[in-house]
Amino acid sequence: MTADKPLISLQNVNKHYGDYHALRSINLDIKQGEFFSLLGPSGCGKTTLLRTIAGFEDYDTGAVMISDRDMRGVPANKRPTNMVFQSYAIFPHLSVIENVAFGLRKSKMSKTDKMLAAEAALEMVGLKGYGHRAAHALSGGQRQRVALARALVLKPKVLLLDEPLSALDRKMREQMQVELIKLQREVGITFILVTHDQEEALVMSDRIAVMFEGEIAQCDDPEILYRKPNSKRVADFIGVMNFLPATVRKEGETYLATIAGLGETEITEAQCPGGVPLQNDNGGEATVGFRPETLTLLYEGQTATHREAPAVVDEVVYYGDMTYYDVRFEGVEKPVRISMRNIFGRDVLGVGTQVRVSWSPGALVVFDQSA
């Protein structure tokens, strides 16, 4: 397979449940060896899309191609994909090793080879020696690993993971995230992960498709998604983003934005992922967004690197290593969140303190007001 040819290609896939448009014109290419995530709120169609690739769901129009082969009419049991289910779906009447070897039943391997392959898969997921345990006696994390081993032992072209970590507690989840990344690098198989947890997606994925209401809103690598979300909706879903109303106008070849509470600044076309929001030649209404960590509270004697604006502290949320300040700029009702690393010897400011806030125009993202 050539490097630039996608392993999976979804072409204009549409699906309806009755009147409900579950998947809207999905176009997506996923490369061999990628760790790809489908991210979105519940009901956005991400699981439906995953199950469409697996062959559990039919679609109305479009094409699902895996390795250049049209998958229409190919049932789930004949596809080169394997799935890790949200509930793990460990067969309760079989032992761990029987679970892992389940998919090998029809393979032409000898019985010994099958057992060896299953043992190797168990070892790969860190469950060496667990083979003869009863499946129902496993913990959540162990079930997860058995489900992984069971799918990987068949060496699928694509491993599909349906919210595999959502049932685990926080600590276990973070540990499994790291293990999954390592495992994926080790086996080199394409992983497609469905998750509603944006942090999880950012940590694990090479690329992420953010979905809303059956549509892919944006598909990029984690850094671009975080820094350059192409819509307010995506910006709001991934991390925390402050929004302030603004007006944009064009003067010669430059664009100028007047932002409530912050004043006027020059912006570039690159800062407008959805296009410069100019409704007419003279200008237009816009919303600017900026992440909490792009703002800094200035203490006595500090000066701004770029621009500064006066504000009042409205709310303080102390997190130990960080403090979140909600501040209000002059003339703006809506508070803006600023995250500050706590430094030893520096006081946490109280509510009502008059402060100066440093901000940099280059960190702004400009959206159409409506989007």
Partner: protein, 265 residues
């Protein structure tokens, strides 16, 4: 709660009183079923061995109960799978109708079946009792099987399919073993109901009586009453044994699929 517990224990005594009396009279040497008791005897049990008509009735009942249990459980599997997996138009109405014999007085089932059978010119016999028993056992089988199927995580079957099995082999390798306890439980319960059922058998049995029909005719002869007590003791012990086994399987199934809800049915 303490007084409630006392009440509950008294209530259980009330529920079990008749059953406890059975063995007392079955092993009592007096031919009159009344207190005070006389002496211990197993005479009435040996007398059962001589009642050849009863042996015929027993065989007839066994034949009917086994057939009805298999038919009712098979029909129950279809319906339980349909409701626990799929939703289809008219589901509530169709299922409500299938479950209707649960509350319908058995005499209504009996006379309506009788009239159709006679009207169509057939003769009643073991087959018509089987038809009626299958009808009344199916709702019980559905109730048991439905919870067995509902407890089964559908992604288990999807997982098997995803791992390369066909729908048929998925059923054989995953579905069947996991609902087997439910199936066994449904078979045993249906068998028990059919063995004990009287009214439908009374109307539809024709020339060969079932065990309860024969027992009913025994009640008219005071001389035979101690033997009835002996037979009743055996039947009750067997029923309790079967029901306990059924409960054991049902609960094992629930444990396997990970949700033991406790109650019976």
């Amino acid at each position: 709660m303490k007084s409630l517990k006392t009440y509950a224990v008294l209530y259980l005594i009330f529920l079990y009183a008749p059953i406890f009396l059975l063995p007392l009279f079955a092993f009592n040497s007096s031919t009159i079923i009344a207190f005070p008791l006389e002496s211990f005897t197993t005479e009435w049990f040996t007398q059962l061995l001589t009642l050849s008509e009863m042996h015929g009735a027993l065989l007839n009942s066994l034949k009917i109960a086994v057939t009805s249990a298999v038919l009712a459980t098979t029909l129950g599997i279809f319906a339980a799978m349909a409701v626990s997996r799929y939703s289809f138009p008219g589901q509530k109405g169709i299922m409500g109708f299938i479950m209707l014999p649960l509350v319908l007085p058995e005499i209504i089932v009996a006379v309506s079946l009788l009239i159709v059978i006679l009207r169509m010119g057939f003769d009643t016999g073991a087959w018509s009792v089987i038809a009626g028993h299958t009808l009344i056992c199916t709702p019980f089988a559905i109730a048991i099987l439905q919870s067995a199927f509902a407890a089964l995580d559908p992604s288990l079957e999807e997982a098997a399919y995803d791992l390369g099995e066909t729908p048929a082999s998925t059923f054989r390798l995953v579905t069947l073993p996991l609902v087997m306890p439910g199936i066994i439980s449904a078979l045993l319960i249906s068998f028990t109901i059919s063995m004990d059922e009287f009214i439908i058998a009374f109307f539809l049995t024709g020339a060969e009586p079932t065990l309860p029909v024969y027992l009913f005719s025994m009640l008219r002869f005071p001389k035979l009453l101690p033997a009835v007590m002996a037979l009743g003791t055996i039947l009750v012990v067997l029923s309790i044994l079967l029901i306990t086994i059924a409960e054991f399987f049902r609960r094992r199934g629930a444990k396997r699929t990970g949700n033991d809800t406790g109650g019976f049915l």
